[in-house]
Structure formats: structure tokens, C-alpha cells
């Protein structure tokens, strides 16, 4: 059953892609509706605000529709689209990186947070998203690219224009900050319930 559903979906997707290659508006809209929720979540992780995320989503989809003729169906379409979105998100980050302040971390506090990692199981995805949004753009980009999208440090270094060492160190710092934020949220919730 599941295999049949996947085959039907893939054939539907192929038709939509073909329609988009022909420039059909209906196919474009259907393809957008199919992938927009996932891609918007991705954009929210890279952008500083919902408005920025919408800009990234818009630019990413426009880029995809214009380049869809280059897609030959060799790999996963979703993977191809995600790459476009990540690239667009990075471009957006590069444009606004200079005006965004970096979030400072308290190294001593972050070392004590390991015990509270189980909190991650209880935290809702939306709350986690809000915490990731609090990271500085550089940390957020490296964390998203490496932990969620699966990019290597070499690829991240090339895409962001930094060294591999910088990418590794930024990832470590981003991880610590996120832990800190999760712990802070847990402490806040604990204080709220006991207080």
C-alpha cells in the first residue's frame, strides 16, 4: 500500500514538474502548495523574522521555477529544492549579516546543561524553532546546514565563505547556546509552575 502511494505520488510529482517546465500556472501552484510548508519551516530557521523567511521562500521558489528546466530527475526533487532554499537563505544571511548582532554565550553555564538534554524530548518543535531563531545568523546557518541539512564542514565553508575550522567552532558554539536557551526555558517553566 505504502509503495503504491509513493509510486502514485512520484508520478503526480513528475507530471507537476513537467507542467512547470511547460510554464503551466496550475502545475506551479500545485507544486508550491506541496512543498511550501516544509520549505517555509526551513526558511524560518535561516531567517531572522517571519517576514525575512517569507522573502527567502519567495526568492527560492522563483529561482526554482526558473531553473526547473535544469532538473533532470536524477536525484530527489525535494533535496534539489532544499538546496535552492538553503542557498537562497545563505544569500539572505550574507546581505544582512553585518547589521545583525551576535548572541553572546556564557560558556560556564553551557557546560552544566548536559543533564537537561532530555528536555529536548519534551519541547515542542515550534518552541524549538523560536529558540533557534534567537541564535545569531552565522551560528544559525552553520547549525541548520550541518545538523539538519547534513552539509559537511567543507561544503559549509565553501558556501559561507569561511574556513572549515570556523565552521566547526561556530557549530560548537551554536550547539552550546541552544542548550543554554533550552535550559533557560525549562528553568522559566519550572519557576512558573512552582512559583
Amino acid at each position: 500500500m505504502i509503495l503504491t502511494a509513493i509510486l502514485v505520488n512520484s508520478s503526480v510529482l513528475e507530471k507537476l514538474i513537467e507542467g512547470c517546465k511547460e510554464g503551466e500556472r496550475k502545475a506551479q501552484k500545485e507544486l508550491y502548495e506541496l512543498f511550501a510548508p516544509k520549505m517555509y519551516a526551513l526558511c524560518l530557521r535561516y531567517a531572522d523574522s517571519a517576514e525575512d523567511a517569507q522573502d527567502v521562500l519567495q526568492n527560492g521558489f522563483v529561482k526554482m521555477f526558473r531553473k526547473i528546466g535544469d532538473y533532470r530527475g536524477e536525484g530527489s526533487f525535494e533535496g534539489w529544492l532544499r538546496r535552492i532554499m538553503v542557498t537562497t537563505g545563505i544569500e539572505h544571511y550574507r546581505k544582512g549579516a553585518s547589521r545583525l548582532p551576535l548572541l553572546r554565550i556564557d560558556e560556564t553555564v553551557s557546560e552544566q546543561l548536559s543533564e537537561k538534554e532530555t528536555v529536548l524530548d519534551r519541547i515542542h518543535a515550534e518552541e524549538l524553532m523560536k529558540l533557534i531563531e534567537q541564535l545569531s545568523p552565522g551560528y544559525r546557518a552553520v547549525l541548520n546546514m550541518h545538523l539538519i541539512e547534513g552539509y559537511s564542514h567543507k561544503e559549509i565553508a565553501t558556501l559561507l565563505g569561511i574556513t572549515e575550522g570556523t565552521s566547526k567552532s561556530q557549530l560548537a558554539r551554536a550547539r552550546h547556546i541552544l542548550r543554554q536557551l533550552i535550559a533557560g526555558r525549562e528553568d522559566y517553566n519550572y519557576a512558573k509552575t512552582t512559583g
Binding site: R25, Q28, K29, Y32, E33, A36, P37, K38, Y40, A41, L44, R45, Q54, L57, Q58, F61, V62, F65, R66, S114, E117, L120, D121, I123, A125, E126, L128, M129, L147, I148, R175, L178, R179
Partner: protein, 295 residues
Amino acid sequence: MRKPQDKEFDARLKAKMEGFTVNPPPAVWTRIEQELHGTMDSEKPAAWWRAAWLKVAAGICLLAAAGLWLYRAQRAVNEEDLVARIEKDTLVSAPEPGVTILNRSRNRSQPARESPKEPAKKSASKPDSAESPPTSTPAPVTEPAEGEQLARITQPAVRAVTAGKPDTAQALRIVPALEPVQVPVPVRPEPQQPVLALAAPPSPDEYSEMADAQGVEPQGRNALLPPELPEKIREVSGIGGAVNLAAAVVDRSRNKFLRIDKDEESGKWSGLRLDLGVITISYQKPTEKNNNERN
């Protein structure tokens, strides 16, 4: 080297984020569509204007053609009026000596007020009628005597003679008062080949008479008849039909931007309608009935 706790954290974070979806606001798709197809939409008005200007240009050309046609038609009507007056007032002088020209149109449309025999008596009793001043009363037409040859001159033929020569019309108007109405023609010895001055194509009956005179077999008489035009070609005949056809080619909508109406009874144009979208010009030709009512 990553710590085991980091690995666990990374795996949990990835699992949480991978299945996370958020619906974007509808305005995003509107902006995407605008960016993708906005240029195409902006080209539409330009294309519309191009088409509109083409229609206007075609309309002006057709209007000019129609105007020219109307001018010519009006001129032809005036000439017909002139010819009709001439025919009423006079008989045309014979193109050949010994040929009497019979005014047939008058016999058909306007019967003589007096019997044919009376004017003969009058002419006989008053031979000095030529000296009398010219009057507007038309000269009576008599039946040709036996053995006289008849020449038939139709209106177009007279028009052809008088066209471009206004003096001729004036002269023709004066002539009947000065010359006798009836010219006797001496009988020629060979009457089998009558001299006919045919300026207009004869009717099928006249063809039949000709065929009888020439001794053509009944089966072969059709060969003498002029070929009939197909109905569709007859429909578009004339400038009005051609203009309507051209308008139909340019404008395929039901209400054509240019239309020339035709009077079914007379077959002549009766009105003109030009619809340019912003302005509509319509002209209805006044009919004879309306003119009479006005008079």
C-alpha cells in the same frame, strides 16, 4: 571530536526539525506568481493597444474607401436623374441616318397622356410646331411605322455619351423643341439583319427573339445567354460587398466595426455604420419615400 552527548543532541534536534512544517501566508504565492508572470501580464495591454490601433487604421482605410464609393454612387444618382429628365423631354438624335430612336423607358414607366394617333394628327395639322418656343411638355412618342428600323439606347448608353460633357446634356434638352419628334426612315432592301444599337445586355426574352431571327436551334439558345455568376460572388459584388467582406476578415466578432447596409429591393446601399469602440458613426441614406414625405 564530537562528544557522545553532542551526537545524541544533534540526532534529536534533526528528528524534531525534519518533520516540522509551517504554512506560509497566501500572499507569498501571490508575490511569486506576480514575479513569474508579471512581465507577461504587462505585455497584454501593449498587445491590446497594437490590435486596437490596427483596427482603427483598418477602419480609417475602409471608411475612406466607403466615402469614395458613396461619392461615386451619389454622382451616378445625379447623372441618372439628369438622364431621366432628358429622356422625359426629348428623343435622342439618331447615331446613324435612317434610324429612329425609340424612348422605351418612357413607354414603360410613364404612359403617354395622349393616344399615339393624336400627336400624329397634331403634327400633321401643325407643321410649324418647330417654330413654337420650347416647352417642358415631353414630346409624344409614336409607334414606329412598319419597316422602320429601331435603335434602342438605354440609360447607361446615354450616360456614357453625356458623361463629362455638361454641354451635351444642355444641347440634348434644346434639340427636341427644334427638331420634329418623329423621323420617318426609308425602308431598306435587306431587313433580315436589323441594325441594333445595344448598349445594355438584352434580357433572355430578347435573346430568344434574336435566336429566332438568326435561326438558332432551341437547344443551342442557352449558349447565347450571358453566363450566370455564382450566388456567393454576386453577394460580394460591388464595393459595399467588398468592404463588408474586408471588415469580416479583419473583425471576426458578431458586430462588425464597419458595415454597409444594402436595400434588398433596389440592391443599392442604404446605410453605413462604423463602430470604433469609443465612437459609433451611423448614416442612413434617405429613401425616396422619405423624400416624398418631406416634400
